[in-house]
Point group: C2
Chain length 363, copies 2
């Protein structure tokens, strides 16, 4: 990848879609792709799936059909996805991002297939970017400011060093700059208190690294944030290890589900409450739309030499369309180049800090 | 403490109350204590505070006033609380739990003061129980089964070994048995997947220890749980390190706050939605009551040679009363003896497992 690449947006965006992934496969992915083609005249799709499954798309405009003979199941192990199903739609979709003679067939790839397999295949086929030790999973959560908080890592890495957390901060900044249109987003380090003395040794050292990156002018570091700050929108980006991030995400999903069940139970208790529900319906619908997880579907696998996006496995066509949209935005705004440039610039500008692990990329 | 203590409930419960703690001090704690005395004829209170503050309680029944000359502020460091304010109401309240000639002046202590100071003072004054390396903070969260999930640790320990997590599981089981009336509660290990191969090395080893304790018949181990299971009520007790627990708790508080703000915004958007709010008010009130964090106020500091309970600093009289009630239930049902007995029995019955750290208590 050239370091002096121009960051003017792409005029034509090519998305490789694993049409077989997710709980519903082509019955969801194909309608979503069709609608996306209609609303995005500058997009070209590489639809990857079994020959049978792709029949409905045979004559769609700006589409190339790529056939695969195998499908990675939602409960397939990483081992099976990597070593046994070498002609899977997921694998072939990701392969479209590989450079051959400096050119890739697609600018981004989207799958609703199983996360472990997708991450393992993407890592194996694409490798990590220069300066990145480990890819991370990033997604957005709506906050009370009416904006989104981007959070990473959400489960790719159970143990993280301070250096990994710094890399996540840089990748997250590039993502938010490219997709949310904020050139200088703030980064918060997820911790159990706002004071710098809080947290484990790893977290404290991550704070040191983030402050150093901020001092060199390459990162907009807010400082520590706590769990509630995710929803306050205190920082644009919240950085944490994959264990903590996954627990926080699933806690969020669990509480949201529990509260909507409580609301439903209260409104269906008797005929009086049902009447109240009828009156309140338009308001409750607006509320539901506002917190609808489908509308912010699409997690980014960051740090790879290629843009890979993961849709929720249970996504419907609307939700899968949102994931296509996020992948499109990232590719259109050259996220890959932005991540690469930010990593190189930030790590090169970092002062030497006490500690064993190198934070600069190998020259 | 005798190992053969009878576990018949206490007929008289003596609670030491730090009346000065919390954001509101005596203006909240004293009315809460007065109401509690009226509703609990078997309770005796040791009210600890400055002489001035305690004047209103001078002639209350079943009350002993204990004067202190200092108050630990909400922003005092642990250092100040431990070394400088040696006559603080918090310190004196905890001291009532110390055995002198085998007898303590109180059965449990409650404070709404700052958590760090309370934990440090309690640990210094009371020491940990035999078999317990570190105390943990436990609290309850309502779940969709209409019950409560008990979670620990919520922030006392940022780094935990597998052995600590086992101890938390045993202490949590004793707490739920004593306070929630479930003699054999289930324990879940907070992880990022349900399979035993998930998680860090510490988590996997904790799983091994918990399975061994279950095999010996001393723990009802459910297996791994994820963030959403806290609200599903999948297990009665969820065990995790203090970093993860604190993030999950604050994430929960943050999301609950954000969602109620979203609901408020939608219902106050215009006159039509305000009308809908009026009709839906009784239902919304029931919903709010159901998720009201005041109603389950009162975290237990477990693993100490004395029962210490922490009220939220911002508690009002109702919420502080709930914390008194939890402390009362714990003391009434001899939680301290239950924790002690369970720890000794479980650790003695544990088979030897590979690993460096001893899991049995010193003989």
């Amino acid at each position: 990848m050239s370091e002096s690449v121009s960051l003017t947006p792409l005029s034509r965006v090519r998305l490789a879609v694993d049409c077989m992934g997710g709980d519903h496969g082509p019955s969801v992915t194909l309608p979503a792709c069709r609608a996306f083609l209609d609303s995005h005249p500058d997009v070209e799709l590489l639809l990857v799936g079994t020959a049978d499954a792709l029949v409905p798309a045979a004559h769609w405009p700006r589409c190339t059909l790529v056939t695969a003979t195998e499908v990675v199941a939602m409960d397939d192990t990483v081992e099976v996805a990597l070593r046994r199903k070498k002609d899977s739609s997921m694998r072939i979709a990701i392969s479209q991002l590989k450079l051959r003679d400096g050119v890739a067939k697609a600018d981004a790839c989207i799958s609703a297939g199983n996360t472990g397999a997708l991450m393992a295949l993407a890592r194996y086929l694409l490798k990590t970017l220069e300066g990145i030790d480990r890819p991370a999973i990033a997604s957005v959560i709506p906050n009370v400011r009416g904006e989104f908080t981007t959070m990473l890592d959400l489960g790719a890495n159970v143990d993280c060093s301070a250096e990994h957390l710094l890399q996540f901060a840089i990748m997250g900044s590039a993502l938010v700059a490219a997709v949310e249109g904020k050139p200088n987003p703030t980064v918060g380090l997820l911790n159990i208190g706002s004071e710098v003395i809080k947290g484990s040794e790893t977290i404290k050292r991550a704070g040191d690294l983030l402050r150093a990156a901020a001092a060199s002018g390459h990162l907009n570091y807010h400082g520590n944030v706590e769990g509630n700050d995710i929803f306050e929108g205190t920082a644009d980006i919240v950085v944490c290890d994959g264990f903590v991030g996954n627990v926080a995400l699933k806690t969020t999903e669990g509480l949201a589900h529990a509260l909507s069940q409580f609301i439903r139970e209260e409104f269906t208790r008797n005929w009086l409450t049902k009447l109240a529900a009828l009156v309140a319906m338009p308001v409750l619908k607006r509320f539901r739309a506002r917190v609808d997880p489908r509308s912010y579907n699409g997690a980014a696998l960051l740090g790879l030499q290629g843009l890979v996006f993961k849709s929720h496995g249970s996504a419907d066509a609307y939700a899968f369309g949102r994931a296509l949209s996020r992948a499109y935005d990232a590719a259109h705004n050259r996220l890959l180049d932005q991540v690469h440039d930010r990593i190189v610039e930030t790590l090169q500008a970092m002062p030497a800090l006490p500690g064993d692990q190198p934070v600069r990329p190998a020259a």
